[in-house]
Amino acid sequence: MEETREILSRTALSLPSPHVVLDLLSVGVCPRCIFRLFGVHGQAYCCSAITASVLQSFLEEQKSCDNGTVENRLVSDGLVRCSYTSQESEDDHAYCCICLGVLQLACQQDRKMLTTSKEGSIDDFTATIAELVKRENHHIDGFSIEVSIPPVIVANERAVWMYMKKKYNCEDWFKDKIPSQHISVKDALRLSINTSLENHLGVKSGVDLFRIRLNYSHLDASRMLQSSLANNHTCKRQKTDKKDNRDSLDDSHKSNLKNSNEHLCSESDSVILRTLESMLDHAFCEHFVIPPEKALKPCLLTTTCYRMPIYIGGRYLKFSRRVSQSCWIIDDERMGEASVEEIVGSNALLVCKGDNYKFHAAGREDIDVRMLGSGRPFLVEVSNAHCMPSMIDVQLIAEKINNSDKKYVRVRNLKLVNNQAWTLMREGEAEKQKQYAALVWTSRALTEEDLHSISSRKDLDIIQRTPIRVLHRRSPLERKKIIHWMNIERIAGSCQYFLLHLCTQAGTYIKEFVHGDLGRTHPRFL
């Protein structure tokens, strides 16, 4: 009780005169909306004891004090023992005319009323959220709250400001209170439930990958908003049409109206918000009820929780000529024996207990080409990981992959990376030079001259037409490429087989450079 009074007293310092606030209460604005309209900060939001009736009683007490006191509005000690009379407001079953119950924590969840009383307890509200997190088996170190509210709330707030402007424009205090001082519904909600939620979940809130999303919607109010906007749109059209001297009862015009109304019904939230913002005060007052009507039903709340995607990166080596890089299935038939994507991705998914994975690599190689040496950089994107992997977990993933009995793929330097690695990978793909080794056979025997002439060529320019083997799905183009250097390594026991080591510009088709692709790559090797 005492605490509540203290909080209210401090809060009152930011609020205008009691008669104004009482007026707002009677219009149907909830206490938290009142606080945030006038830029109140602090404990006022998470004090569950502050109901509309408690606030009302406090203010009425203040008002009668004011009539006696000369200077300030602080309640004097003598009135501490006054008893509160809770006056039942007429519309017991109505919800805040601005936030439609959001800040009253009274909302519909899955068609069941969260609470029967108009003002729900913060603790019950956050307990339900914590239950959801637990039920879905999330292991978290922190959380971040995302709130989505319907645009009609913005319209309601403006309607209340218009109401106040009309009524209190002349009063001194109004000139000081600019709407920009207000705190948004989203922020006010966070202020209300943050601490309680932190207690239930046992972790702190802040910038975190784990998101708790509170999605509010109100079908009836949103429909009303749509029709108000449509009317405004119609009026504007009629005005411009009159300018054009068109008969407004024209059939085609009527159908145009109908189309534009339907068009507005499917507008996205951002478009609606923009329309509202661009509306001038007088137009707004014409098409909206001032002050807004009280809501008989609160918002519908859908709570979801998920973790933003995490990235595990490293380099992979591929030892098999029958394993493709990405999952390759045509008409339900798998081409190749396996894929790097599935081997790496499925193991990562298992350890992170995620919903899904995506495999991204810096470049690619054919199914029948091995990936050796230091390996190709890759990223696995795991969505909604229920378990944030530790360094040991990541090592575990690497071990599972490297120790499998089918020695198809190996990974190196596996670690948890942030989003930055993503851009580096894309850059690496295009810029870097790539090194290859090819086993080549020629119809004539190799000579020492061949070795010298090959290794002496540096930065050889070649032109490659789109290889026939990919011409069915790539644009027919001519691509200029550079072969930076080449070296022939003889193989013991053969004068027609040898290893060709070469370093080329990224994007060069190596096979076609060696055999020439029927003359479509020119010049070709040998």
Partner: protein
């Protein structure tokens, strides 16, 4: 004292890395070098490995043998088979012209993944005129489909038909629809049957 020990650990670490590097390189070498026992003395050529070779013998005229190399992706490379009469003429092929009266086949420009602007041709449509010993021979499509590309190198280097008609001297690349390919497939000869027919 402690600093000295630290240095030792660092040195060891760098030694290890150098060793590991050498190991890695050894491993790479062993992976790259093939086991010569597993390697055939004469491997199949790139064309043999990547295409299925079909032949049309006496296509519309006796002695007009052509080849159709079909890739797994459905594209068909068309050209004159080694037994084509034009290739037996005295002096060999001296000129190739893609202007066959109706249009110059070398002028079309096919763009994009979807291969727009590609002209559709029947199997007996003319692709080019090949001049050998003052005689003109017509190279035809053999396969119904969209013309993706003509080998315009033949215009400046008609001699390619004399040196490698079955490779760099190809005439065009055609993309038949799957249904059209199935219809024509059975009327073509396999490589083996072609060789038997021409006693090669």
């Amino acid at each position: 004292m402690e600093e000295g020990q630290e240095d030792e650990t660092l040195e060891r670490a760098s030694l290890e890395t150098a060793e590991k590097k050498e190991e890695g390189e050894e491993e790479l070498r062993s992976l790259l070098l093939p086991d010569m026992k597993d390697v055939p003395p004469t491997p199949p050529s790139a064309v043999e490995s990547n295409f299925v070779r079909y032949f049309a013998a006496d296509f519309m005229k006796p002695g007009h043998d052509q080849f159709v190399y079909r890739h797994a992706n459905g594209l068909c490379v068309i050209g004159l088979a080694p037994t084509h009469v034009a290739l037996r003429e005295k002096g060999g092929v001296t000129a190739v012209d893609y202007n066959v009266g109706k249009s110059d086949r070398s002028e079309m420009k096919v763009t994009g993944k979807r291969k727009r602007n590609a002209q559709h041709f029947e199997s007996n449509s003319a692709l080019c005129k090949v001049c050998a010993n003052d005689t003109f021979y017509i190279g035809r499509c053999c396969v119904k489909g969209s013309l993706l590309e003509v080998n315009d190198r033949l215009i400046k280097q008609p001699d390619l038909l004399n040196s490698s008609a079955d490779r760099e001297g190809y005439i065009a690349i055609i993309m038949p629809k799957p249904a059209d390919w199935l219809k024509i497939k059975d009327s073509l000869l396999s490589h083996e049957d072609y060789r038997k027919l021409r006693s090669l």
